[in-house]
């Protein structure tokens, strides 16, 4: 009744599966950038230098309040204007990594603030350096309360990767668009993209919860 063509489905499925690999790669790379950069943004807001903390705070607010798709365009097109050509992948990873770094920095900030002051004082009394206190004492304790938020944004970044299609990153959405414009059939490619997204994002929520419990146990904090 819906004119769904299974032969066409079988024909385009391999292409979509390969593109799914690219989608996962983009999400993974973007998330790796966001995880590290987000920590830097969070720590920068805890330094005693007011100018730095205020600047980073405002930058995070700005990134969080503006559309990712616009940021992707911005990063991709502004480079050439000043003589720097970025490939779609590089521009896309910078934009999506920065966008989610801003979100993750808020998650980290909450986690870091949840570590009691007494932990800092104990670290001082043992003469641990600031860096070591962060990496051995504070961050391990800030991690468990941050995991839920970090997991949400992992799924979030995965679901935002279709926006990379606008600058030509050959992920799922881009491939579905290409199939659509070649064959004038949109039903199968777009529906399959939706199904693939559902098949990955639904179980990952459960997986993330399992992982969260595992980390808590590992750190002896359950």
């Amino acid at each position: 009744m819906f004119d769904w063509r299974w032969d066409f489905t079988a024909e385009i499925l391999p292409r979509l599966i390969i593109a799914t690999g690219n989608t996962l790669l983009a999400a993974g790379l973007g998330y790796a950038i966001a995880i590290v950069l987000g920590l830097i943004l969070a720590l920068a807001q805890r330094t005693p230098y007011r100018a730095l903390t205020m600047t980073v705070r405002e930058a995070v607010e700005f990134i969080r309040s503006t559309p990712l798709v616009l940021q992707i365009f911005f990063v991709f097109y502004v480079g050439p204007q000043f003589g720097v050509r970025l490939s779609p992948w590089v521009a896309g990873m910078i934009a999506i990594g920065l966008h989610y770094a801003a979100y993750l920095s808020e998650v980290y900030r909450g986690g870091l603030e949840s570590v009691p002051k007494g932990q800092w004082e104990a670290a001082t009394s043992l003469n641990l350096s600031t860096a070591r206190t962060y990496f051995r004492i504070v961050i391990p304790q800030a991690l468990p309360p941050s995991l839920a938020g970090m997991g949400n944004y992992l799924v979030g970044i995965f679901k935002d990767t279709p926006m990379l299609s606008v600058i030509g990153v050959a992920e799922l959405m881009h491939t579905a668009n290409a199939i659509g414009s070649e064959s004038y059939r949109f039903l199968e490619p777009y529906t399959l993209v939706g199904v693939i997204f559902l098949m990955i994002s639904l179980p990952s929520a459960a997986l993330i919860r399992t992982f969260e419990a595992w980390v808590r146990r590992k750190l002896g904090m359950s």
Binding site: S65, T66, P67, Q71, F73, K159, T161, A176
Partner: protein, 221 residues
Amino acid sequence: MSYFEFLSVNSTRFIDGTLITAMQTVLAATLAIALALTTGLMRLAPNALIRGIATVYIEIFRGTSLLVQLYWIFFVLPLFGITLEKFTAGFVAVGMNLGAYGAELVRGAILSVPRGQWEAALALNMSPAKRMWRIILPQSLVIMLPPWGNLLIELLKGTALVSLISVADLMFEAKQINATTFLSAQAFGTALVVYYVMARFIITPFMRWLERATARKLGKA
């Protein structure tokens, strides 16, 4: 060309685009709130079928991408005999997507109203509908308003995607200006600032005001 000249040449396009973005935001927000309330309540219904319908809606729209949903509604839905004009398809997709997230906020807020309130309402022999409408919902409103503030900013950002089906919103105009002037930093930068101003200086203060007004009305301030 100085930035000031750039602005004066392109101001009409930016203003037109901003108005379309504002309309998309208001319409999508209205739809999202209605859907969130309806399906959030349906998720708490005793009837498994009603719960199931709401769950399917929420999981599908939260489990896939807004862009996928937008394309599906605009390109695929016509094959089922439902053709939406692009402006309508735009805010419907954004509203349905954010409504699914909002439903979880509604459900969570209702569940966090203390048990004693349900029992007190029951003790007064209120009908279930009255209990929900007069006792539980007003209290859960105070709980859910702060996260709704964040959700509305996500919704505003989401409307930028409607440019991809050629709705002439702010994002679309920025792209057009970029294509004709090649001044990417100015074109996209200006649009970024306008989105930021809308989020930070219109939506956020409005939600703060609403939070305060609601709290006052419920005697919690």
